[in-house]
């Protein structure tokens, strides 16, 4: 399991999958738990449909480099991102992989990989677009660096005022991932 004192996460996938949002939620957990956090997105001319990633650090100490080149947690939602980042994960780290969208050929033996059919689960439960939160649920189950109460508060704070129903569906998605075996 990753060191729960310092999360150095890289989240990656296609634009539109909620990669940056999932990263922002991670940072929010740290914020609410009074930890030091940083969130750094990739930014460039290609967004929707292109690949996108972000680096999130949650730590007890002030964050030095916000750019993470050797993550201890990888969170991937497409094959190109898996291929690009899987080799960068620290030995002993963990990877959370959307099995529906990633065909992983190279499975590393020195890290722990969790395959979750997040996109299929989202469709099955009528939670289209919440695969990112399902994967986040599994992440928090395996790397328990915050409390369920914090998760609830973070989801609440990040629910747009015009879409209050998002809170319940995100919470549901989180639980699906959390309870996925």
């Amino acid at each position: 399991m990753a060191d729960t004192h310092e999360i150095k996460a890289v989240l990656a996938g296609f634009g539109g999958q909620g990669i940056l949002f999932a990263g922002k939620l991670l940072a929010y957990f740290g914020l609410l738990d009074e930890k030091e956090v940083s969130w750094l997105p990739s930014y460039g001319p290609a967004m929707r449909g292109g690949t996108c990633n972000c680096s999130v650090t949650v730590s007890d100490k002030p964050v030095g480099s916000p750019l993470i080149t050797e993550p201890n947690v990888l969170f991937v939602m497409n094959t190109p991102s898996y291929d690009k980042f899987i080799a960068t994960v620290e030995a002993g780290g963990t990877a959370f992989i959307d099995e529906t969208l990633v065909s992983a050929e190279n499975i590393r033996g020195d890290i722990k990989s969790f395959f979750v059919p997040a996109t299929a689960l989202a469709t099955e439960h009528g939670l289209k677009g919440a695969a990112n939160i399902i994967l986040l649920g599994k992440f928090l189950k395996e790397v328990p660096f915050t409390s369920k109460d914090t998760v609830r508060k973070a989801l609440e704070k990040n629910t747009p005022a015009k879409k209050p129903q998002m809170f319940e569906s995100n919470l549901k998605a989180f639980d699906i991932g959390y309870n996925f075996i």
């Binding site: 929010y28 914020l31 956090v37 940083s38 969130w39 750094l40 964050v63 030095g64 916000p66 750019l67």
Partner: protein
């Protein structure tokens, strides 16, 4: 408001500018600073301010020139290529002794360059922001919190010394989110003399003139001397720097802005390997914190300057140390962010 909030550097800067009393913003979009404009376009009109997207960077800086002449707190922001376009206007504003705040969220250059983070505009900011004998104060934030804190400081310094103040950030600081606390502005904060402002008086006094043209050479020389006296006062009173683990250090990494964060990580790693490393971070780039650097390098045998450029601040470090301590340089450029491991490798070789 003393709550910790999670915000992008660009947005935190924009929010802090409003609480610092910025009433007018003139800008033109360019990556990676557009969130400043976007944020102010939503918020400024709601607090009685003016947000105006100009037709170009040149128009925006000239709007600042006009607005600053009325004594109103105002700001413009851009990224590297856009700052080059503002250079004529900035020279005029400096020549007319007007206060304003200018933000540069640097990206790779020259030319249109790239949109990734860079620190290649150090020379431009500290030496040649426009033609003529002048300086602007240059402040370099290193965290999202400092993006907010230093913009407040920038407005105060601009008003106190009647000159432009530049915040020199980069794409990394602009785009990243970190917790930030907005300090409440003291209600009885400093008030500044604005009796020079051309803001309409109904014929009750002699009119003020805002101008940068002095055809009489003796008059212009006198004006410039007066301005440089102010720079001397700023040098004596307002240099800022941060020293980290420098007390017993054998080697000091000198870096500003986001590179200083990477240097910090590198220095911590070096310490765990038994290398006595420390970090010196200038916060004011003009004036350069010469005395602070000399103090921080008292025990140092070597200095390694790190920048996201081919080496620009390294000149100021060498000038300040007067060749008494060997100075090396490591940099990445074109939008590449150096890795702390790369800095560490260089440190081992120094």
């Amino acid at each position: 408001m003393s709550e910790r909030v999670l915000m992008k550097g660009n947005e935190a800067l924009a929010e802090a500018a409003i609480s610092a009393g910025c009433k007018c913003f003139f800008g033109y979009p360019i990556t990676p600073q557009t969130e400043i404009s976007a944020y102010l376009s939503k918020r400024l009109p709601k607090v009685g301010g003016v947000f105006l997207q100009a037709e170009s960077e040149i128009a925006a800086i000239n709007m600042v020139y006009g607005c600053a002449g009325t004594g109103t707190r105002c700001m413009t922001s851009s990224s590297s290529p856009g700052i080059s376009l503002k250079s004529e206007g900035l020279s005029y504003i400096a020549g007319a002794d007007l206060p304003c705040v200018v933000i540069n969220v640097q990206r790779g250059g020259p030319g249109l360059g790239g949109i990734q983070p860079s620190q290649a505009d150090y020379w431009q900011a500290t030496r040649a922001l426009g033609h003529g004998d002048f300086h602007v104060i240059v402040l370099a934030p290193s965290t999202v919190q400092e993006m907010a804190d230093l913009v407040t400081r920038a407005f105060d310094l601009a008003d106190e010394y009647r000159m432009p103040v530049m915040l020199l950030a980069d794409g990394l600081l602009g785009q990243m989110m970190e917790p930030v606390v907005f300090k409440k502005r003291e209600e009885n904060g400093k008030s500044f003399d604005k009796s020079w402002a051309a803001n309409g008086h109904g014929g009750k006094r002699k009119h003020n003139i805002i101008n940068s043209l002095y055809l009489e050479a003796t008059e212009l020389e006198e004006k410039i001397h007066e301005r440089f006296k102010r720079y001397d006062e700023i040098k004596a009173k307002h240099t800022m720097a941060e020293s980290y683990m420098t007390d017993d250090a054998d080697v000091i990494i000198a870096a500003y802005g986001s590179t200083a964060r990477l240097a910090r990580t590198a220095a911590e790693k070096a310490r765990s390997l038994g290398i006595k490393a420390g970090v010196f971070r200038p916060i004011t780039l003009y004036p350069f914190p010469v005395n602070e650097l000399r103090e921080a390098t008292k025990t140092a045998k070597r200095v390694l300057v790190c920048e996201m450029s081919m080496g620009q601040m390294v000149d100021d470090v060498r000038l300040a140390l007067e060749c008494k301590i060997p100075v090396d340089f490591f940099g990445r450029t074109g939008g590449i962010i150096p890795k702390p491991e790369e800095i560490l490798e260089k440190l081992k070789g120094v």
